[in-house]
C-alpha cells in the first residue's frame, strides 16, 4: 500500500509558509516569536487554516454532559472527542501552532524582504576536522582492533566448524576473524562571522527603545546565522564608559549618565584586535543609540576610529538610531555628513517605532554584505 503523506505534508507546510509570510511584518514588530524561541525552532501561533462550512458557532453553545455537580457549577472544557460531529461539543477554536526552524524562518524573512545572500568576503570558510569511529573493517592497524567483534567472529567460526568445546572454551582468532574500527572524517564548521552589538544605555534610552533594539537584533541574528555556518556574538553597552556584557544584561541594563560613543567603538576595536582577525572573520558591527553624543569632540573621535580601524575591518557597520523623547538624533546627521555615500560598508537607519523595524532590517541587510 503506497503512502503519499510526505507530499501532502509538504503541501501543508507550503501553505503554512505562505501564512507566515503574510503575517511576517506583524510578527517582526510584535515580538511574539522571541518568547517562543527554542534552540533550533520557533513555535508560531497561526489562525487555524480551516475549510469554512455552513456550520454552527462553537463557543457560546451549550450541550449535554455526564457527571456530578449542581446546577450552576462550572463545566470543565475538555477537548472535543475526536470524530464527534455534534455542534455543542466543540469547545472553541484552537489556534494552530506550527514549529518552524530558524533556518526556515530566515528564508521566509529573506524572501519577504528580498534580502540578497551575503557575499563572503572571499575568505575560505573555516572548518575543523573531526574523526568519528563509525564502521567496522576487515583490515586495519592492530591498535584499532575491535575485540568483541573479533571474538564473536572467531567464536562463530569455531562453532560452525565444530571445533568449539564448551568444556574447554578456548577461542583462537585467525587473521580473517579480525575486525577493526574504521573512522570517517567530518568537517565541522567553525564560527567565521562575528557580530558585535553595541547599545547606548544612557538615561535617555527607555524600555520601549530597548525592546526595539532587541527585536531588531533577533531578526538580524536569525538572518545572519543562516548565512554563516558559525556565528560569534559579543555585546557591548556604553554610557560614558563601555563594557562587555552577556546577552541577558545587554537587554536589561539601564544606566544613567552621559554618552560617549567613542568608548564603545574603542572597545569594539580592541575586541577585533584581540579575537577577530579581519583576514579570517566576517565582522558585523551593529550600533544602536538615540543619537545623543556628549560632545562634538567625542563625535570627531568616533569618526576617526570608524574610518581608521572599524570600517576597514568590518563587513558592515550599521547604525540604528532609535527615536527617544530626549535624544536629539544628532549623531545620525553627523555620520551622514561625514561619510555621505562614500562607503557602502556603512548603513544608517532611523527606527522611529516598531513598525519601522522591517525597513531597518531591509536597510541593514539589503546590501548583501
Amino acid at each position: 500500500m503506497p503512502m503519499h503523506m510526505e507530499s501532502d505534508l509538504n503541501r501543508f507546510r507550503k501553505i503554512v509558509r505562505g501564512k507566515i509570510k503574510k503575517e511576517l511584518r506583524r510578527f517582526i514588530s510584535s515580538g511574539d516569536l522571541i518568547a517562543r524561541q527554542g534552540k533550533k525552532q520557533v513555535t508560531i501561533p497561526l489562525p487555524r487554516i480551516d475549510i469554512p462550512h455552513f456550520q454552527y458557532g462553537s463557543n457560546e453553545q451549550g450541550g449535554v454532559g455526564q457527571g456530578n455537580g449542581e446546577v450552576g457549577d462550572q463545566v470543565g472544557q475538555g477537548d472535543p472527542q475526536p470524530g464527534e460531529g455534534q455542534a455543542g461539543d466543540s469547545a472553541g477554536q484552537h489556534s494552530l501552532e506550527v514549529d518552524v526552524t530558524l533556518q526556515e524562518l530566515a528564508e521566509i524573512l529573506g524572501e519577504e524582504l528580498e534580502l540578497p545572500n551575503i557575499e563572503n568576503k572571499g575568505k575560505k570558510n573555516l572548518e575543523d576536522k573531526q574523526y568519528k569511529y563509525t564502521g567496522i573493517l576487515k583490515q586495519g592497524p592492530e591498535s584499532l582492533r575491535h575485540f568483541k567483534r573479533t571474538y564473536k567472529e572467531a567464536l562463530r567460526r569455531a562453532i560452525s566448524s565444530g571445533n568449539y568445546d564448551p568444556e574447554n572454551p578456548v577461542i583462537i582468532p585467525r587473521k580473517e576473524d579480525k575486525r577493526y574500527r574504521s573512522y570517517r572524517v567530518y568537517n565541522l564548521p567553525v564560527a567565521n562571522a562575528a557580530i558585535i552589538y553595541m547599545m547606548d544605555v544612557s538615561g535617555s534610552m527607555g524600555d520601549e527603545q530597548k525592546e526595539i533594539v532587541r527585536l531588531t537584533s533577533f531578526w538580524l541574528d536569525t538572518w545572519l546565522s543562516t548565512q554563516y555556518a558559525g556565528l560569534e556574538r559579543r555585546y557591548i553597552i556604553h554610557d560614558a564608559t563601555a563594557r562587555e556584557v552577556d546577552q541577558q544584561t545587554f537587554y536589561r541594563t539601564k544606566e544613567s549618565g552621559g554618552t560617549l560613543i567613542s568608548s564603545a567603538y574603542r572597545l569594539a576595536q580592541k575586541m577585533i584586535e584581540e579575537s577577530f582577525d579581519p583576514a579570517e572573520w566576517n565582522i558585523y558591527l551593529f550600533h544602536f543609540s538615540d543619537g545623543d553624543n556628549w560632545s562634538g569632540n567625542d563625535t570627531a573621535e568616533c569618526m576617526k576610529i570608524l574610518e581608521g580601524q572599524l570600517i576597514p575591518a568590518a563587513n558592515l557597520f550599521a547604525y540604528g538610531q532609535v527615536e527617544s523623547r530626549y535624544g536629539s538624533g544628532q549623531f545620525l546627521r553627523d555620520l551622514q555628513k561625514h561619510f555621505g555615500d562614500t562607503s557602502n560598508k556603512i548603513t544608517l537607519s532611523q527606527i522611529k517605532d516598531r513598525d519601522a523595524i522591517v525597513d531597518a532590517l531591509k536597510t541593514f541587510l539589503g546590501k548583501g554584505k
Binding site: I15, I51, P52, H53, Y56, G57, G63, Q81, A91
Partner: protein, 497 residues
C-alpha cells in the same frame, strides 16, 4: 506498506481467529476482517487519511497528520482503534500495544464490523470503498496532471467547503422512474387524447380542441414551478446537475459528494456504533472469551479510559454502552409495554421483573434499525437520565464559562436530539436556482436554535459563488432576526427580510 510486513504475528493471528469464532458463536455477523499491524507513524498516516491507505493528494491530510503526530508525541491522545467499513473490513493494530490491548481492540473491531454489515443506515454504503477511494485518487491525479496541482487543490478546497450539504436520507428514497412521455417535471409532453379508432379520431379529438389543450399546457408550464420544484437538500447534486462547471470540476465535486455520503452514516450512528462495539468487547473479554486473571487489571484500566466521561463533553462510548445495557436489562426483565410505562410507583418499577430474557434479541434489533437519533429518542428515558447523571450545560456570558444549567430530563433529551439532527450539521436547502429570474442561487437554513457561524458563512458563500458563478444568497436567522446574506462575487451584503 513501507516495505515491511504488516501481517499479524502468529500469536496475534491465532487470537484474532479465536475471537472471531467466539464472536460469531455469540451472534455477531460480520464481514471477514483483515488486521494490519502497524507502527504509530503508519497509524497516524492512515488515520490522517480517514482510515484509507490511498486518498487523493490534499494538504489537509498533511495538517491532520501533523496534529496527530504532535498529540502522540506529547501523549495527549492515542488512537484507540481504527476500522473501515468495507468488505472485507480493514482494521489496524498498533504494534507497540500490549496483548491485553490487542485483544480488546480486536473484539471491539468485530463489534464495529458487525454494525457496519447489519445496520440499516450503512446498507447503502459502498462496500468496496477501499477500491473506490483509490480510484478517486487516480482520477484526481489525472486531473492534476492535466490542469495543475494548485488549480485542482484549490478547487477541492472549494468543494470541501460545501461537503456537508448533502441529504442523508436520499440514498433511501426511491428514484422516480423516468417516463418517456413526460418531461423532467413529470408533465406529459403531448396533450392527452381520448382514445378513438383512427377514422373517428378527427371527430373525437378535433384539431382546435387539441390546439387549445396544447396552449393550456404550455401556459401551465410557464407558471411552473420552482427550480428546483421542491426545496432540495442535496445541494451538491443540484450543483453538479446545474452549475456551470467544466467536466473535471464536475467529477471532482462528484468525488467529494460520494465520499461525503460514504462517511455520513458513521456520523449518524456514532453513539450507537461505539456503544455497540464497546458493549461487545466488554462482553467478550469478560464472559465469552474471558481474559486470563493476570490480564484483568490491565483490561479494567483500558476500559476505564475508554468510558471515562470528559468534563463538558459527551463520551459516545460511555453513553452508547450504558444505554445499550439499560435496554438489555429492561427487556430481560420485561420492563416495557403499556403496563410498565404507566406504572408510577418507583418501587414497583425498579423491582419489575417478568424474567423474559428478551434483552439480547432486543439489542440485535436495535443495532439493525436504529441510528443515534432514533436510538436516543426511543430509549433514553428518565430513569436512565438520572442514573447516568446527565446534565445540560450552557455558556454563561457573565463568567465566560460553561456552567451546568439543568438536570431536567425533558430539556436534556430535547437538546441531545437537536444536536444529533442531521448529524450535527445545519439543515440547508436549495429553494431557487433562478432567483430574481437572474440565475442567482437562493438557499435557506432551517434555524434549529443555533445561529450559523458568521465568518465561516461568509467564506462558504464565496466558495459557493465560485461554483455557481452568479450571486448566491442564504436566508437564515441571525441574532434572532431573519436575514438574507448574499455574495455577488466581490461584496457581501446582509439584509433583513
Amino acid at each position: 506498506m513501507h516495505g515491511y510486513n504488516t501481517q499479524l504475528t502468529p500469536e496475534l493471528a491465532e487470537v484474532a481467529a479465536r475471537l472471531a469464532d467466539a464472536a460469531r458463536a455469540a451472534g455477531l455477523d460480520f464481514f471477514d476482517t483483515i488486521f494490519e499491524l502497524v507502527d504509530y507513524k503508519q497509524l497516524n498516516e492512515i488515520a490522517a487519511y480517514g482510515g484509507f491507505p490511498t486518498r487523493y493528494p490534499h494538504w489537509r491530510w498533511g495538517m491532520e497528520y501533523e496534529r496527530l503526530s504532535k498529540s502522540y508525541t506529547y501523549g495527549l491522545s492515542i488512537i484507540y482503534e481504527m476500522v473501515i467499513n468495507n468488505d472485507p473490513c480493514y482494521a489496524y493494530l498498533l504494534r507497540a500495544n500490549d496483548m491485553v490491548y490487542q485483544k480488546t481492540v480486536i473484539a471491539h473491531v468485530y463489534g464495529h464490523c458487525d454494525f457496519f454489515k447489519n445496520n440499516y443506515w450503512f446498507s447503502k454504503t459502498n462496500r468496496k470503498m477501499l477500491n473506490q477511494m483509490a480510484n478517486h485518487a487516480v482520477l484526481m491525479r489525472k486531473f492534476i496532471d492535466e490542469v495543475g496541482q494548485d488549480e485542482v487543490e484549490s478547487f477541492i478546497d472549494t468543494c470541501l467547503s460545501l461537503e456537508n450539504l448533502i441529504d442523508i436520507h436520499s440514498p433511501f428514497k426511491a428514484q422516480p422512474k423516468k417516463n418517456e412521455d413526460q418531461d423532467e417535471y413529470g408533465r406529459p409532453k403531448q396533450p392527452s387524447k381520448i382514445k378513438a379508432k383512427s377514422y373517428m379520431d378527427n371527430y373525437i379529438n378535433p384539431a382546435e380542441f387539441m390546439e387549445y389543450q396544447r396552449r393550456k399546457q404550455a401556459e401551465e408550464a410557464e407558471k411552473v414551478k420552482g427550480f428546483p420544484e421542491n426545496p432540495e437538500r442535496d445541494v451538491l447534486k443540484f450543483l453538479i446537475d446545474h452549475a456551470p462547471m467544466s467536466s473535471w470540476e464536475k467529477r471532482v465535486l462528484g468525488i467529494i459528494r460520494d465520499e461525503s455520503y460514504y462517511f455520513a452514516p458513521q456520523a449518524q450512528t456514532k453513539i450507537l456504533n461505539e456503544g455497540w462495539a464497546t458493549y461487545w468487547h466488554s462482553k467478550m473479554m469478560t464472559q465469552i472469551a474471558p481474559l486470563h486473571e493476570s490480564e484483568i487489571i490491565d483490561y479494567c484500566d483500558h476500559f476505564a479510559g475508554v468510558v471515562a466521561s470528559h468534563p463538558g463533553g459527551l463520551n459516545p462510548y460511555k453513553l452508547g454502552v450504558e444505554l445499550l445495557r439499560h435496554i438489555e436489562r429492561r427487556w430481560d426483565r420485561g420492563q416495557f409495554g403499556i403496563d410498565y410505562l404507566h406504572c408510577d410507583d418507583p418501587k414497583t418499577r425498579s423491582e419489575w421483573n417478568k424474567n423474559l430474557g428478551l434483552g439480547k434479541q432486543k439489542l440485535l434489533e436495535v443495532r439493525r434499525i436504529h441510528n443515534d437519533i432514533t436510538f436516543i429518542d426511543e430509549f433514553l428515558d428518565e430513569d436512565f437520565c438520572h442514573e447516568s447523571k446527565m446534565f445540560l450545560y450552557d455558556y454563561d456570558r457573565r463568567s465566560n464559562r460553561h456552567v451546568i444549567s439543568s438536570r431536567d430530563f425533558r430539556e436534556i433529551k430535547q437538546r441531545l436530539l437537536q444536536q444529533l439532527t442531521n448529524f450535527g450539521q445545519p439543515i440547508i436547502r436549495v429553494v431557487d436556482g433562478n432567483f430574481r429570474n437572474r440565475g442567482e442561487l437562493l438557499l435557506t437554513h432551517s434555524h434549529e436554535g443555533a445561529d450559523l457561524k458568521h465568518d465561516a458563512t461568509l467564506e462558504t458563500l464565496k466558495n459557493l459563488h465560485r461554483i455557481w458563478k452568479r450571486p448566491v444568497h442564504i436566508d437564515t436567522l441571525f441574532e434572532e432576526v431573519k436575514r438574507r446574506i448574499s455574495y455577488d462575487g466581490t461584496n457581501h451584503q446582509i439584509e433583513k427580510i
